[in-house]
Symmetry: C2
Subunit: 192 residues, 2 copies
DNA sequence: CTAATTTTGTACCTGTCATTCAAATATGTT
DNA sequence: AACATATTTGAATGACAGGTACAAAATTAG
């Protein structure tokens, strides 16, 4: 009943994600969003209610695609160490391959909104926890397989790996070439 | 000649830094700045020219105070490893002790502006390079003293330590308590 | 075919953004 | 004292932010 939407809300959220990811929350205007999505302002506000609500949906979409991507990488066949190295190297490729150097949307959001937006910060915190958890599982697999020293605290190592990855993704935004990031990967793997 | 300034520009820059640090660049308005600094808008624009110019001065002020703080920590007496651990622990204290959880202004700036502001990004890149360099010097001292394996690539280890610290400072903005950060420090030092 | 429902585009609104300006005020120079 | 210079304040500016209102258009249930 009623007139059907002439645009796909999922596509709209994806395009909104793209804009928010590139420009950040505060610097993105409703005009930017309608330009990118290709709908009118009326439709935008009818469908999503507010800039903030759309941002939250965009962030959740980022979470889903990002988490699936990383978790699939860590689920590849191979040794735990190889999978971890592969994931880090894939992240470097991903970040440096992006002409806009957007980095990680969750990291950018933490940096921009943690002081002012508790709800969004909670979402980001959970995203970090999820990644940390995936790292911990892989590290524990490596310990059972004897590739990683069993005496190490897997939880602490996972937290440290998460910090390393977050740092890498910030550095990817400022790095001029790949050498700095490759060094980070090498040193991180050397000390695992 | 002329009426003398009724405020200290250095104090004004410091207060501006405080606001930009807490709110980020885009979310800070000229009104926020004059409220915090305690001068009129005319004075603000007469003294600094634009919001962006004031931001750059605030960022440079951050760089100077931050770099001095960290470099002094790393210059303390003691073994290289102890100094590195001390620096990481001091950063955790600093970040968690801040009620606003502002994290690191350079990191926040990289996250917010790297896609859009080449000049500022260059400043941040140099700040990162300076910290990385201070880490490398300390690591090399540790290698000469035999505390850190000489076979390790000091430059790569320093890059990795920089990434770890950047990640920690992002996590400090979302972490609910100190455990996650303490784990990062422990794991980082364990693998040094 | 209509009634009911929903979307859409345009126009509009209020407030704020970043900046500028005029006038008043405070100093150094002659 | 008169003047030139520099700074202060706060109002004024044009542009745009974020969002709303509304009538016309599109669809489906009955």
């Amino acid at each position: 009943m009623g007139r059907p939407k002439q645009f796909d809300p999922d596509v709209a959220v994806e395009r909104a994600m793209s804009v928010f990811w590139r420009k950040g929350y505060a610097a993105t205007t409703p005009q930017d969003l309608v330009d990118e999505i290709g709908i009118g302002k009326g439709s935008l506000y009818n469908a999503f209610g507010s800039k903030h609500a759309l941002f939250e949906r965009a962030l959740l979409r980022y979470r889903d695609s990002q988490a699936a991507w990383l978790e699939e990488l860590l689920d590849h066949p191979g040794s735990a160490k190889d999978r971890l190295r592969g994931a880090l190297e894939a992240l470097v490729e991903l970040d440096l391959g992006d002409p806009d150097r957007r980095g990680c949307m969750a990291v950018n959001t933490a940096a921009e909104l943690a002081t002012s937006d508790a709800g969004t910060t909670d979402t980001v915190r959970k995203m970090f926890a999820r990644t940390e958890s995936a790292f911990r599982v892989t590290i524990e697999e490596g310990q059972r397989a004897g590739e990683i020293a069993g005496g190490r605290d897997a939880a602490a190592t996972a937290a440290w790996l998460l910090a390393t990855v977050i740092g890498m993704r910030v550095l990817a935004k400022t790095a001029e070439d790949a050498t700095q990031l490759r060094r980070v990967v090498d040193a991180a793997m050397a000390s695992l």
